[in-house]
Amino acid sequence: MNEVIKKWGLPVAGLAILGIGWYLGLAWAPPDREMGDVQRIMYVHVPLQWMAMLAMFLNFVTAVSHLLKTKPGWKLDSMAESSAEVGLVLGTLGMVTGAIWGRPTWGVYWSWDPRLTSEAIMLVTYTGYLVLRRFVEDPDKRATWSAVVAILGAINLPIVWFSVRWWRSLHQVQSSPKTVDPQMVLPLRVSAIGLLLLTLVWLMHRYRIALAERHAEVALPEALPGSGAPNVHDTPKVA
């Protein structure tokens, strides 16, 4: 029983909370005065973008920590890889939902608004980061180089976040409890918490795979008979 809760507790809770949040958003919250029901995509779009930013920020933090760390190991690098991947998928979904909302609201799927442009740059930057990871075989070099690229790319993150405040253009300023009706804040918050739990589950899962891959890469010489390969940095703890 304990094992089942440990394994399925967080994903089920995340799905349930996200379901409640979306139900509240789609059925309980009132339609927007100007946009009508179209506005309800906010309960999907905004949490996706929040979680994407969170994952990218985690990528930046783990990249810096990887460069600063003194003990050898692959945990930070694996976390950096998984957070970039998860963030890229969430950000892309956020951008697609934004475009779906943009069509009825602005009349176009895409405009060269600073927020949209900087978000697009961010997604391409992290695609480049992930491509780099695939093109470097040496795990040590891959970890260091991709950390450097992650730090250079992360300079764009505050630009994405503040773009709606710096350049007042088409995209509205971030919604907050002060600007949104309480009946809209509740579903938004519940959806965000649900998606946060699912993001964490996904991150942990991807992290375990990445760490196992790193260990498999560096452990290969040891598996060969008679090879006195140097010891692996830390023992695999993954199932």
Binding site: L67, I121, V124, T125, T127, G128, Y129, V131, L132, F135, V136, E137, K141, T144, W145, A147, V148, V149, I151, L152, G153, I155, N156, I159
Partner: protein, 233 residues
Amino acid sequence: MNSSRPRPIGLIRATLTLLRKDLLIEWRTRARLNAIVFFAMATLLMFSFALGPDTRLLEKNAGGYFWLAVLFASVLSLGESFRVESENACMDGVRLAPADARAIYLSKALGNTLLLVALGTLLLPVMVALYGVRVATGFVDLGTVLLLGSLALSAPGTVYAAISSNARARDVLLPLLLFPLVIPALLSAAKATTLVLQGDPMNQLGSWLGLLLGFNLIYWGVGFMLFPRIIED
């Protein structure tokens, strides 16, 4: 002074020594500068073919085309800048020298900047002739834009060139990493060049140059700090 160990030399002297070495190698063949100049000229020519011979359109967008040509040429030039070191394991020799590893970054990035400034200087008369532009606000402004723009492409470009020169598929990797990153620099350099060429009645040139300066400060600083980690073994 300990005579048994080599005396470490200062950052500035090491940078200048390495820069002189790179420029000397470049000067002896002039292969890289020749190649990128003709590549960039061909690019400028291609824009006019792709868009048709509409002189008004070409003149209006000249700043953007100019910087796109410089950006494309810079990718070739940056990719080459580490080739001299990767042949015969010269990078190991440079790293074994009793000098700060950051001097390698400064010398390479400055060398790339100088090459791009030289490229831009040679490209300008071609652009004036092909697109029929005139320089409205003066050559000092144009030189400032060219210098700041070249510095801005070289700072992150040198970091990425060092990484991609050692990775597989280096020819794809460098533009893939560099292009999205330099969009703010490309945007401000192109806008500033357009203002210099067409006049600046609203006095906007300063803010675009400020953006370029900020971009330079951030990326030269970050590149300077992180570069030693890239070339360490």
